[in-house]
Assembly symmetry: C2
Homo-oligomer: 365 residues x 2
């Protein structure tokens, strides 16, 4: 019997997804409110393992695109998501039979669950990253051959934009100014695919992983600290098992710029024990962490900033001067570390000069 | 029997249209090359008077959108125009039975003729302005109730964008960054309408007017100067009859900025007889002319800069330091001077503080 996502799962799913969102992918509190309301209204959602998805299923993505700094002011709406998906259904002349998340994030892996509830459709236990990334082309669907377009963008005024571009990079370049014009946040539907394509190209098991990670954060028994419990839970996951608590400290500097539909910035953290300083650079998501100039972790591996006491993930738009935080890094799913994947989501794609070095090598050094 | 546009008409049509383009709407030389090639290949084009268009005709626009400074480097292509129109035909589920120009201009009223030849369709003797304007909402179709969207944009890589917006202003705001992303020039298809709508909202007779104006410029007999002949031809036209040769001079300063998908600028002209200085401001098209700070002519009335010897219109991208030019202004079609129209295309829409004053008042004062 397939697993169900119920009301009781939502807090853990949103929290675990926000951790995997590595600073981006939206605020888990807003995401959980949306999903709880939808499940209360429409009932629980069937979670399909990728190998349970029929080959000819019509798999649709429902996601938000924009700057997280704006998403906390301009809430995502299921009605806008519905208009984006139905716009693409009409354009393609076929109707969704399953929903999948584009990425993991406090909003972007929870809104699809809410939307699946609303449509009475199953959600696939998978996504296109096993983390979050700031750009449309940075998903396994693209790396392994699914076309990003036709795609739709929908704003809160019911305005629809349909794109057909030559590749996912061009879709990103065309969609970003549209999203900026839409007020730096829009709902989108892209990478329409079959069940067979979803199985071949998605990162499987990531919703289940987010649930387990979220539970570890929220359901401690007081025996060990929440951050240590989180690291232990990551180590129990196949993808994220090279997990390290890099640094505990206090945020002493923060620079954030919302522009061209993204938020760019740098966060500087002083060690609580006086042993140096960590700098994290982000573009919606955390990209690279350095201690006193030395590389600690780098994309596509995951870098998360969590509350030092509760282990709750802090999205980049929630970072504040003076916060006491722990910085955690863990390995990305292997599908993101292949040469093909690194060509799309490696450090060079973020104007970083460093080569990718796996966290297990950096932390072992 | 309906009139035909033949190979022999094209130079005059492109030249007259470029005059009515008031600095924008594209280069007449490029436009005439495209149209001549199309007519040679596909035969002449039927020119339908608006009252000959069936009520239920499917009328489609084929036009370029972008900065004229870019259009002379990146040529418009009939294939891209065709993809834009066919993209909208597919989206709407109906096929064009007649073509209409969005505006007058060296390219934008000649490319539709070429495209009509290619498709074997008639072109309507009308457009949405009787001149050119830099913004999608500044057409009589919009002022009198035709929806701008759904519309399509097509770039030279075959990339398609379909927009559905709440009004024409929003379409402009959404399309402009897309066009900028497409390299500041794209082909578009918008304001899909019926024959009845075209008849009710278009400015009739403007292709015929352009032909007559172009002939006056090109076919002089040497008895009077080309510029005087041009002014006389304008005075014989019902719309443009308040026509004045404002100023003869030499361009002494030129400031041009291609940004956000437009070209903005100022052209300063010193009187040849030493009697003062004229400043013309433009956004793709000429907007306002002042002599020593005093208003000479202002949108929506037409302001054209022509070669002083040949009377050939000079598009804003063709203005050069040292050129000897005549500045001509004439009245806009009455349909552009109504309060409803001025709300869309009056001076305030170009951040000008002046009120609209008709040229016949300014020149008579």
């Amino acid at each position: 019997m397939p697993k169900l996502i119920t009301l009781e799962d939502i807090d853990a799913l949103a929290t675990g997804s926000a951790f995997l969102g590595t600073g981006g992918g939206g605020d888990p509190y807003i995401g959980s409110l949306l999903a709880k309301q939808a499940i209360r209204q429409y009932g629980p959602v069937t979670l399909l393992a990728p190998d349970e998805v029929p080959d000819d299923a019509h798999v649709f993505i429902a996601a938000g695109m924009g700057a997280p700094t704006v998403m906390i002011e301009k809430l995502m709406s299921l009605e806008d998501a519905d208009r984006a998906v139905r716009g693409l259904e009409r354009y393609l002349g076929r109707t969704a039979t399953a929903i999948i998340s584009a990425e993991m994030g406090g909003l972007n892996s929870v809104v699809p669950v809410a939307y699946a509830a609303m449509r009475g459709l199953p959600i696939i236990d998978a996504d296109g990253m096993g983390r979050a990334f700031p750009s449309l082309d940075m998903v396994s669907f693209n790396v392994y051959g699914v076309s990003c377009t036709p795609m739709t963008l929908m704003d809160e005024h019911g305005q629809l934009v349909i794109l057909e571009t030559r590749n996912a990079r061009a879709a990103e370049e065309m969609a970003r100014p549209v999203v900026a014009q839409m007020g730096a946040q829009a709902m989108m539907c892209c990478y329409p695919m079959t069940g067979a394509q979803a199985r071949q190209t998605a990162v499987p098991g990531t919703l289940s992983a987010a649930l387990a990670i979220g539970k570890a954060i929220l359901e401690g028994d007081g025996a060990i600290s929440p951050v240590d419990r989180l690291v232990a839970a990551l180590r129990a996951q196949p993808y994220y098992r090279h997990a390290h608590r890099l640094f505990d400290g206090k945020i002493v500097d923060l620079d954030r710029l919302t522009t061209r539909g993204w938020v760019f910035g740098t966060c500087v953290i002083d060690a609580l024990d006086g042993a140096g300083q960590v700098t994290i650079e982000f573009q919606n998501e955390h990209l690279v962490a350095r201690r006193d100039g030395q590389l600690l972790a780098i994309v596509p591996d995951l870098i998360a900033v969590v509350d030092r006491e509760t282990a709750r993930p802090i999205p980049t738009e929630g970072l504040r001067y003076g916060q006491r935080v722990a910085v955690i890094a863990c390995s990305a799913p292997p599908i993101l570390r292949t040469p093909e994947a690194l060509a799309h989501m490696g450090p060079a794609n973020f104007q970083l000069r460093d080569d990718f070095v796996p966290i297990e090598q950096l932390a072992g050094a």
